[in-house]
Point group: C3
Chain length 307, copies 3
């Protein structure tokens, strides 16, 4: 049942998730004890065709904390053989020869699956365009488990750009593994949750609703999952502006939220959570970022063991 | 006889090549056994004034597999002190102070020699403009030796952009160390092998011919060495288009090739070898890329021992 | 008294400087003995919002020589979450979770202090715009101590762009810790030393003068500290040209300099020290660059011990 490739949220079953989170807890202890050099002879390659400093550094720190070596490129699209006309498949075949694991971020949906199809080493999807971002969803779930104490019986409100935000898609898919989940989608009119996500939830029997009144759903929410309106995904500035600023989490909203609820955000934020919220104990988004390190360590560990 | 700087193909004698390939075989075993940490206290700096993700990752993986540390820059031309007016010589003097070995890629012919002249550590040339790319030629030769079993008595066909392709120049020079070599140069009219390469082969008594009929020479070839028409080396699009698409290795050509021949390519490719060829056992170009790791490990090992 | 953050020159007292230089000497011995792996489980993140290959490589080599791991970004401004609208504070909070120390270079004055205010790990300022560059000044002082044998009783001439050159500001501040210091500021008319630096020297009782005759002050100088006219800090080309080429150190100037004096330069240079000077034993600027490695190792060591 050990993991090899990590490609999309739908590949995970509840027992797999249980096991990953168990290893993640072990990784927390390893970091607290000063790190490990178990994988000192392993090489991880980060191939980022789309920049994402945060996600890249998180993976590179995870590999370093396990004692491993990191090579890679910050900007594969601009510098690599790609501009000389090389296919992704050829790039992956060659990079496989230099690596024990490949972490890929790409602009195209399905790129990670194409990479995995030809790679001779495990491939971890660090985001493929408007597709998926499964390692983010794993750290989201792990954070909920750690903060709230359970992954069943939850009311989760997803807020912001639900059309382009791949993290909410992946998280929705993964939540279908749990019982008695209720999701509220709270999005500006022009960036609502896609039908294919709703269809998947229907198939899996997960309850959801589209609700425009943030204050109303915040009253019963266990988790407010805020996301950024991603300017770079919009083709027109006027569409972007229409989506912006409609749903902001601030000290007023904190007042109606339950005491044992939490606020998550995949980060970076750009104003959709007021800075004043940071001091509230329910603001869990920086702890969530920290959990990304532990979860990615666990995924690397699983990949090396599976090999 | 141990190597220190690796600057150009002409510096290598047959005994030196024999020794490098012997160490390379040892490196293959070391990688198979899970790597080494012999050079854990050594620091390699990669200075890439011209992007080449593939070559850089290959060197960085090689250093990592030997346990060493890697620092460097993906794009020295854009980011470094160069844009502040610093000479290459000053850059190298400073970087020498931080490094145990420098791997340099530069746009200017002779840049690696200029670097070696002032460096206080070994310099490995990872390509200097339209000049040389000696580590590529070493891995080419190693691949031929490993795949065909010998480096004497060979018919080698070099195909594609032979005017701008530095790998074919360096490989031609190195082949003069071996007996009974016959080279066929098969290039589009506007990118033929330069006179200075032919002159060197004449001096060394190596047999060569310029032949426009690829199918004819493929019948007797032991090695088909295909190269990409390098768009970035052309000043006019019409010249580029004239050179493109004339010589493609596909399943039709496979039919006339000898069973014990091989196809090499320095990669990346951009259509000049059809994807259908990949499945044929004679398609050795991905194994060739893998050999790059072992050869570069051997060169680093030699450089550290020579010090 | 152990150091944690390194933010600006004014934070250093003479006993702190004594201690840093003692550790620096130890680091020289460690490098001579082949390095250390004391900090093999530590991770350093380099966040360079403004490119500076030299400074970054110096820090990364320092961390590597101590056995540590390095992650980071060459060009945080272009690639990071910053372009998605993230504040520096948010970036630092997240990166803190992945790192044991953060090295930051930024375009804005005070950026390092803002980073330190929210970081949960030590922050080392590698230059904040036209603000400070304290690690450079520490290596400058260390070089003077090593080359001249003392840090009291010195005549130091600072030459070049004294308006925009943060290294001369930081160095001037640090020199106030020593006795009987005399500073001559020799700058083109449009890039003279700012009043706030002179005011600080006045407060601390350090003797200084503004002197346009380089040859005159060079006769008594113990240290000529030359700096580059930084084209990138000028808004008009004509202003830049006015400042350029006025004060050049060449073989003629060497003739009037004292035999036991030294020439320093933070590098890169762009013509303001003639290449012919390099061979003179008083040309200490490349040894100075080398000392940067040792000083940064000492600062990392202090930061990890303070933690």
């Amino acid at each position: 049942m050990s993991l090899y490739h990590v490609l999309g949220a739908k590949q995970f079953t509840r027992p797999m998730l249980d096991q990953i989170f168990e290893v993640t807890e072990e990784m927390e202890r390893i970091v607290a004890d000063g790190g490990s050099d178990t994988y000192r002879n392993k090489v991880m390659t980060t191939l980022f065709f789309e920049p994402s400093t945060r996600t890249r550094l998180s993976f590179e720190s995870a590999m370093s904390r396990l004692g491993g070596k990191v090579i890679g490129t910050e900007n594969a699209a601009q510098f690599s053989s790609t501009i000389k006309g090389e296919t992704l498949e050829d790039t992956i075949k060659v990079v496989s020869a230099y690596s024990d694991v490949i972490v890929i971020r790409h602009t195209d949906i399905g790129a990670a699956e194409r990479a995995a199809a030809v790679a001779t080493v495990p491939v971890l999807n660090a985001g493929d365009g408007a597709g998926e971002h499964p390692t983010q969803s794993l750290l989201d779930l792990y954070t909920i488990k750690k903060e709230i104490g359970r992954l069943d019986d939850l009311h989760i409100v997803m807020i912001g750009d639900l059309a382009n935000g791949r993290t909410v898609h992946s998280l929705s898919y993964m939540l279908t593994n749990y019982k008695n989940i209720r999701i509220s989608f709270t999005a500006p009119e022009n960036v609502q949750i896609p039908n294919y996500v709703k269809k998947y939830l229907d198939e899996k029997g997960v309850a959801y609703e589209e609700e425009y009144d943030l204050e109303k759903v915040a009253r019963t929410a266990d988790v407010l999952y805020q996301t950024r309106i991603q300017k770079e995904r919009f083709t027109s500035l006027s569409e972007y502006k229409k989506a912006c600023g409609q749903y902001i989490i601030d000290s007023e909203l904190l007042k109606v939220m339950k005491q044992d609820s939490i606020i998550l955000h995949p980060l970076p934020r750009a104003g959709e959570i007021a800075v004043e919220v940071d001091e509230d104990p329910r603001a869990a988004y920086f702890r969530q970022a920290q959990n990304g390190l532990f979860v990615r360590m666990a995924l690397l560990d699983q990949a090396f063991r599976a090999k």
